[in-house]
């Protein structure tokens, strides 16, 4: 056995260090407050790499498209560490990730922008990311900004007949960002915000908080990550009877929330998320591929993760080399019109067109991935309620 293990190890080492490979850094919040949400997103990134490598690999020489993964923990400090290592040690061409807004902003500010490396986040949705690149054109994302989701959520609340609401948000870039958009648009639409308080994540008890906020309203807009206080706040609110209706966004949308609190207690909960539009051709192409590989295609940000990794491969292919400086322009070129439409998984086709000097226009699985001047994309949102023990989403028109 021993020589085989040694040989296997040698192969592995060669595979990860061989200079001929194209290496892309992929910081993901594998541990941290939302591991359940991230696990299928990781599978989607790997699936995109699999498709690239199965269809001829990168460039004319067929180099391998390698994903170098690191754990960004949904935490700014951990993300800076992880991306520093990816850029300086693994010498990656570009970054696909991170997951959380706070992590994305921190690593872009202090590592990837100074190093001149493109970041293409798979799910960071904070409005603060829109204008952060200050002319460098190095920060992109494949998920829509919460500048849109916050408004969609406010419209949803009004449509449900909620006219007064208490707002509680975790004080990080993602949750504070969407809370601000929600509060502004909810007030503009004629609703009353009875209290608007930050809460500290990871406390053992939020009973005092929910009691204080519950004095003004029976409705709570909760912006938190399920794994760092969100579930505890909902549980404390339900136990004390302080709130009966909950609305919120992606950070709470995990099966874990249902398993822990119980479907029978979540009748009044609605959470929105970025979602693929299930009727588009882009999604249909992805769905078949994802199902064949046992990847849950409709889970939050899974399609966005696939799009990000796949677009990065296309952009590097278009650039013709693993040179970091060429990625930003070629990413715009393959994602935006004009060009021949490429669906999820059609790497060989795209490669042939690019080799012949043609233009391509990637049609995202999650939605159109046409980057605007700030590297943002538009997207669809869904409202999710508990049905038969799982979250069930309907697209918000």
């Amino acid at each position: 056995m021993k020589p085989q293990i040694a040989a296997g190890l040698a192969c592995y080492l060669m595979a990860t260090t061989a200079s001929a490979d194209v290496v892309v850094g992929n910081p993901m919040a594998v541990t941290g407050p939302i591991p359940d949400l991230v696990a299928p997103m990781v599978l989607a990134v790997d699936l995109a790499a699999e498709h690239v490598n199965a269809q001829g690999g990168m460039f004319a020489s067929g180099e391998k498209f390698v994903i170098a993964r690191a754990d960004s923990q949904c935490d700014p400090v951990a993300a800076v560490d992880a991306v520093t290592k990816l850029i300086n040690v693994s010498m990656v061409t570009a970054i696909v990730g991170p997951v959380c807004s706070g992590a994305t902003i921190a690593q872009a500010d202090s590592v990837s922008i100074p190093a001149g490396v493109v970041t293409l986040s798979v799910s960071a949705s904070s409005p603060m990311i829109t204008n952060m690149e200050s002319g460098t054109d190095l920060v992109f994302r494949s998920a829509a900004s919460d500048a849109y989701q916050g408004v969609a959520l406010a419209e949803l609340a009004i449509a449900k007949g909620i006219m007064d609401i208490a707002v509680s948000y975790a004080n990080d870039d993602y949750n504070a960002g969407i809370a601000e958009v929600f509060v502004n648009s909810f007030s503009e639409m004629g609703g009353t915000v009875t209290s608007n308080e930050a809460h500290e994540p990871n406390k053992a008890s939020y009973r005092a908080e929910v009691a204080t906020m519950g004095a003004g309203s029976d409705n709570l807009a909760l912006f938190a990550y399920y794994g760092s206080g969100g579930i505890t706040i909902m549980r404390n609110a339900l136990e004390t009877g302080a709130f009966s209706t909950f609305i919120g966004a992606d950070g709470m949308l995990a099966q874990e929330t249902i398993d822990q609190i119980g479907a029978e207690n979540l009748g009044g909960a609605t959470f929105t998320t970025s979602t693929p539009n299930l009727t588009t051709a882009g999604y249909a192409a992805f769905k078949g591929l994802a199902e064949a590989a046992d990847v849950p295609s409709a889970s939050p940000f899974v399609a966005n993760s696939y799009d990000a990794a796949f677009m990065m491969a296309l952009a590097i292919e278009k650039a013709g080399s693993a040179d970091r400086s060429a990625i930003s322009a070629s990413l715009r070129s393959i994602a935006n019109a004009p060009g021949e439409v490429i669906q999820a998984g059609e790497f060989a086709k795209a490669k042939a067109i690019l080799a012949a000097g043609g233009d391509i226009h990637y049609n995202g699985a999650a939605g159109p991935q046409d980057f605007d001047a700030n590297g943002d994309v538009l997207g669809y949102f869904s409202a999710n309620v508990v049905k038969d023990g799982v979250w069930e989403g309907t697209i918000i028109e």
Binding site: T31, N202, A208, A211
Partner: protein
Amino acid sequence: MWETFGFEFVNFYLIPGLVLGCIYALGAIGITLTFSILRFANFAHGEVMMIGGYFTWTAMVLSNDLFGIPLHPIIAAIPAVMLAIALFILVDRYFYKPFRSAPAIRVVMASFGMMLVIRSFVQAVWGPNQLTFVPGIAKPNELVKNLTASVDMMILVPNKHFWIIAGTIVIMLALSWLLTKTKIGKGMRAVSDSPELAKVSGIDVEVIVKATWCVGGFCAVAAGVFLAMDLQMLETTMGFRMLLPMFAAAILGGIGRPFGAVVGGLVIGLAEELSVYPWLGDGSLISPGYKTGVAFTIMVIMLVVRPSGLFKGRLF
């Protein structure tokens, strides 16, 4: 909607503060004992709390799956206590004992490393996801609710909080007996006061050290299980998040004073919850986002005004 109860202060601020205080108190006992007998701040204490919760969860799941008997967390905690004590003693033997005569900072660093080792071990074995300890939500005890409502003082306390408060009182009484009436407890107090004097008067310090880990491990697992009962879930950083308030409680009560640690824990727990009560007017006194700051403000003021703590603890 609270005006209908007229008793919100007790239900939503005082009782939650007491429950939190009980958990801090149990954790702080172990910290204060290690601090005074072994002369170092044990950063791994919170992780032992956490792993105790995971052992308990495993015992509950095994009993349910293999024998079909659902165990109450408090019963499932018995094997967990033994495992946690064994862990403490093994860690002490191989990681702390070699540093016994070295400067304290080395063993503090060793305990810091141990904290990361234990957490990574738990993440590797049980995974980084949260585990559900008890599913669903805990409704207030109906009997107490109806009984107290009939005299216009409706008290809303879920059963889990009765268990936590009662369990803490029982452990406190047992600890009090141990420390004042038994030979080993008196030995612990003697070593805490002066290890040299204790040694020359014939006390085996290594036995006392083992006893300290036993008491500390027992209280840590009790705190971890109570915390998991309250949160109804487990996650790998739950012990670490309690560590700083528990240190604050130990310092507030006075290092080496187990009952001081209990008082300190209750003060810190109550201060955190009561500081957001709307004492003046409608809004909460301070924003709930800052309530942890209250606990540490109390600790800092204590260190400046009276460094030995409420109960004249040891100074280092």
